[in-house]
Symmetry: C2
Subunit: 734 residues, 2 copies
């Protein structure tokens, strides 16, 4: 029964059959077979068995590299933990600071954990040299592992790209900000420009249309069509009774009418509207957006065009690699260059405001959502609320719930902010919102836990302190918060991973949807869809564990085993999840790795500065010049990594393009590339109307295969273009 | 007589004849003709008369744009001064703070200037709103002018590049870090790589040789040859007596011998050595450096290669535009990629040390160079020193002189540091040392004057202060230092410009050289050479005046007229100098403008932060959020400028390349580009030995026209390759 929740990927691939169980009702919901629970742990060896090469083929490179982050955590922290336990724990334990202190001030109580931490080493002790040496050792080890991992991931990416079969985005470049020309249409202008400036390489292009309204109509029709199928199925099963519906909202009220007739008529009406709108978009020169997908005869030609500047004015004819067709975020294609600068400025200010003032709106909501106002709005709840116990419960929980709700919506808010910034690929959008989320967690969770008070208060405090005071403030609090973070790792980390394998939320949602929403087989498929890994949320959270591990490695090494258990457990579980559950929407070939590497290095630098601050309060003032070298070296290491590897994640080298081109020319000399690229970059809403478009193409000979953009902010529309385009052609063909 | 010092450019161009004056000896050194001194000012209208287009043709775009910086200063500060005098001066003057203060503390004396400054406005006065509004007005005006100027310079540059005639660097790309191949020679490897990956575009290439020793030999021979000519001339004038020389150092001691015979023999000996070395370099595969100049059939092909990544490994086959042949810094071509990263790190640390600890070595030298140690080293000076007056004079002046000498050598030290960083073009080297010098002046002259004490003490103080304290410390001191900076502008700025037009130092040097060193006509030409504008030194100094003007525009506007006079005066004089004196070594087509723009914006931001600090001490605390917006907006404006214009200074757009290629193909269809490029990128030391090289070329058919690099740190060798290559061919042909 729940198989579809735990192994949806296999259903999506059509490998598992729909189980047609029809046992007693109880069995349907509660699994009474005890063996099942034992078998439940079978996935552990299964998840580990699949070799990496097969994993890449099965789940894509993005997922395969994503779980390597957990492995990376193990690689970094297991040797660090061994070293720290061997060297630092005995040194700390025999430090005897608390013995001295407990004699002087009896009231301070220290936990057993603190005996193993640096706090137990008395100030100005010679023992602190060990901590400095260990800081160096841990830094070099972390950098060494990061460098090796970066190299491995780069090789994996390059190998993946090289062995990839032909894809439209290998030949295509996205051109933005095409200047208008008084004598030519946009399409002609694009063609002439590239014919002249990339002679022999230009093949074809597609103009982008603003199909905002059209996309809405198509969405509506899809919905109606789904209902039609539902009622047709119902009628087929019970031919004795024509199904009926009501004309009002969601079929809940209004006049009762024959459902099949009604929806057939409605669809026909929409069909006509859609045709009219489609013709308008094609005919109206105003509907053309100054952007185009330009395709070249070879990968070499596309690589050249993507990497070079076209004209004197760098704000016009901006060329960059076209995102994978599934990855295009159509809504942002029309944003002009000037507006991009302003948008970025505004969003940076907004992010700053969000991070440092995020408690303010929550506090407002919390005061508004108090008992009195609830009673006012929903007076029928009054008798319930007025009972004493309920009242205190609500008053106690509402602030926490409001905060949780806000945190739940935070990734979505950050995603919307990234959308406003104007990135044109979904993968870009996710990378940018991940960066924002990382910053938020760093300030509000890490710093916020260490230095109590809201982020705004912290900022005020920090601005009024000297720069050398900041590491001190953080450093001093670090050892005191070890117990808190151990709890955090267990509650958020371990329990979060356990919830992930049990898929509690999706399980509930799936069953809710099944009961209330699912009407046709297609609906069920959609309800079952597990979505993608959501790495823009999980990856920044994960970085917090790297940060904690690095910060506490020298201070309270006893925390490290908890981190290691988290990484090991999470590695296992996510390996299982990417094999059996998640279904990636697009493939970016691990293009997020530079971000991962950078963020771990940020964590490393924070850990070094915190240690610096801590030791300077330990009256080991001479340690400052020795320790200040570490963050500088780390920053330099970041630069080295960037120079050495990052271009492999941003550019496509000409040599590789040439090799692939030559190979293809030798093996498939008859390949009709133009036909292959014909519909690759067509907006999903135009995929159904190909017949009409073909005719227009034949007429004017310029290949303006219609590509459209919607200006709506709905997002989900482009974001959820899952499945191959062929899937949906069938729907529209009706 | 001094004509050669004041108008050397015309001599270098061969327009002015050598004056053969032979009047009385006194007249030779002291000009007795009073009219000359009146005529002396004639250059002012003459300097202004030349239209800009002609100026560009005469002096190059670099120089023409350089003097626009002074004009930019006028454009920014004249309206700011008018506005400040109209609005701020009356407000400050009637502020009456000093009236109040002088009642309370009689001992404080304020100058008349302070009455016009913001210090005269009492704390928490409403009048301060005017200063805030003015800060906004000045910021917007400065940004507006900067944007307009950036646009003009960009257009000038693009127009200049477009109208430029054919140049070898338009077709050539510098490839560095060519990986070694076991099966092929480096030259073959380069050729095969580019034939495969840039098919149809690759034309030819030149391997770079390490010709360190050879360059030294050529230098020696040049020196001997010069002496030979000197003695031959001497003999021709007085055929009765064969000139003699001595074999020892500089012909000062040793055996007396016949000079012409001796030098002829020596030159022959060197010729043989040189030939042997040349053959060794050509034959020895070890002498080949993993770099090459690759030329393409078209500008389009070169533009594509320069802007794209060639292989997976971004540390190999690094391509970039080849510098102009005169601009190549041969010594750095062989530095491997890994070493570049380390070098940059070390040099950044060294620069930091230099800036913040520059007083330390000077103090050491100052203590070493005291009277006692001078007496020890040079005991014969004792009687002179021991006289009381001399002693105190020396003791008073030595520290100042040591500091002056250090400051004189500073640009050279910074240039050496840039050379170690590994840039391959002289223009790059100059840009980088200018950036270092700017930072040095900012910290040690501006901040150092405002906050007294050495930079290291300042740094310590700043690190112990909170970030919000730093603008306060600076801001409070700013109005107090107005008088000091007015003096500075007059002493350093005005007097410096006056010294520039009088060319005091070059005048003395020229006459000294003429008496002691000049032996032949060629020597005299070299002594006369005025060198280039040295903008890596003058431009950062100039930026100081922008900074002062912007900082004081809201605080003490009375300083602005001094700045304006400086800019106007300097504009006039430098316009004259670039027309009549300086002779640019290379043409970078104003590629330094992004740096100029950035540095002015840095100055603007410093001025905003200083005002912010100042007002926060004036108890106008509410002003902080209003004023903190300004530096953020300025930074954003910098980003906008960068996005909008900078690529025009870094890249060559494909469209422009294509236009020039097409035009050339139409006008000169028979052009033999290969022949044109044959010797363009040949190391100067190989230019003389072309005959031998030609033969080798014919033999192996691969176009390895020899190009060499010297590993010596002499620098001057590549830096002073002035004049066209043909000039020197004649010398070696003897």
């Amino acid at each position: 029964m729940n198989d579809r929740v735990y192994f949806p990927k296999w259903y999506l691939r059509g490998i598992r059959e729909n189980p047609r169980t029809s046992g007693p009702l109880v069995k349907k919901f509660v699994n009474l077979d005890v063996r099942m629970y034992i078998r439940f742990l079978n996935w552990v060896p299964a998840a580990l068995k699949m070799p990496e090469q097969e994993l890449i083929q099965h789940a894509g490179l993005d997922s395969a590299v994503y779980i390597r982050i957990y492995l990376l955590g193990l690689k970094i922290f297991v040797p660090i933990a061994l070293l720290a336990f061997g060297v630092l724990l005995p040194i700390n334990y025999t430090g005897g600071n608390f013995h001295i202190m407990s004699l002087s001030m009896k009231d301070l109580t220290y936990g057993e954990i603190d005996k193993f931490s640096i706090s137990n080493v008395p100030p100005a002790s010679k023992r602190l040299v060990a901590h400095i040496i260990m800081a160096y050792a841990f830094t070099f080890w972390t950098c060494y592992i990061l460098y090796k991992e970066y190299k491995i991931v780069t090789d994996m990416r390059l190998h993946f790209l090289a062995s990839q079969s032909r894809r439209p985005d290998q030949f295509t470049v996205l051109v933005r900000n095409v200047p208008s020309d008084p004598d030519e249409s946009l399409s002609e202008h694009v063609e002439h420009f590239f014919r002249v400036n990339h002679p022999g390489q230009y093949l074809t292009h597609k103009v982008v249309y603003n199909a905002n309204k059209l996309a809405k109509l198509v969405d509506q029709k899809k919905n109606l069509h789904n209902r039609l199928i539902y009622y047709t199925n119902k009628y087929e099963r019970k031919p004795s009774k024509r199904p009926t519906t009501k004309t009002g909202f969601w079929g809940l009220w209004g006049k009762k009418i024959d459902a099949i007739d009604y929806y057939t008529k409605e669809i026909e009406k929409l069909n006509k509207e859609e045709d009219a709108e489609r013709e308008r978009v094609i005919a109206d020169p105003e509907a053309v957006v100054p952007a185009a997908f330009v395709s070249f005869r070879s990968r070499w030609g596309a690589a050249v065009c993507a990497q070079t500047q076209q004209t004197r004015n760098p704000t016009q004819w901006l060329t960059d690699w076209a995102p994978e067709p599934r990855d295009v975020y159509w809504n942002n294609l029309a944003i002009p260059f000037v507006s991009l600068n302003v948008r970025k400025l505004v969003m940076t200010a907004a992010l700053f405001g969000l991070i440092f003032c995020f408690m303010i709106p929550i506090a407002i909501v919390q005061t508004l959502a108090n008992i009195e106002s609830i009673e006012k709005v929903l007076p029928f709840l009054r008798p319930l609320i007025d009972r004493g116990s309920t009242k205190s419960l609500i008053q106690g929980y509402i602030p926490g719930i409001v905060l949780k709700i806000f945190l739940l919506f935070l990734p979505m808010i950050l995603m919307e902010m990234s959308k406003i910034e104007g990135h044109v690929a979904v993968s870009d959008l996710e990378a940018k919102s991940a960066a924002k989320y990382h910053l938020f967690l760093l300030v509000n969770v890490f710093l916020g836990s260490i230095v109590t008070g809201t982020a705004l208060q912290q900022l005020k405090e920090f601005l009024n302190k000297s720069p050398s005071e900041i590491p001190k403030t953080v450093g001093v609090s670090v050892p005191m918060k070890a117990t808190f973070f151990i709890t955090y790792i267990m509650v958020d980390g371990w329990a979060g991973v356990a919830a992930e394998i049990l898929r509690v939320v999706p399980l509930i949602l799936y069953h809710l949807k099944n009961i209330f929403l699912v009407k046709t087989e297609k609906d069920r498929d959609e309800a079952m869809d597990p979505g993608s890994l959501q790495w823009p949320i999980t990856e920044p959270r994960l970085q917090l564990y790297f940060l904690l591990g690095l910060v506490y490695s020298t201070v309270t090494p006893i925390l490290l085993p908890f981190i290691i258990i988290f990484f090991a457990f999470a590695y296992l579980i996510f390996r299982h999840q990417i094999i059996n559950v998640y279904n990636q929407k697009y493939e970016s070939a691990a293009s997020f790795w530079p971000d991962v590497n950078r963020r771990i290095l940020i964590g490393l630098m924070i850990s070094q500065l915190a240690l610096l601050g801590l030791l300077s309060t330990k009256k080991a003032a001479n340690s400052t010049p020795v320790l200040i070298v570490l963050p500088i070296l780390t920053f330099w290491f970041h630069k080295v990594c960037k120079n050495r590897f990052e271009s492999a994640f941003r550019m496509f080298p000409l040599q590789d393009a040439m090799i692939k081109d030559t190979l293809e020319r030798a093996t498939e000399p008859q390949l009709d590339l133009k036909a292959y690229l014909k519909d690759a970059y067509t907006h999903p809403v135009f995929k159904g109307g190909q017949v009409e478009l073909m005719e227009i193409d034949d007429e004017d000979d310029i290949e303006n295969h219609l590509v459209a953009t919607t200006r709506s902010r709905k997002g989900s529309q482009a974001g959820t273009t899952e499945g191959s385009p062929e899937d949906r052609t069938g729907i529209y063909a009706v």
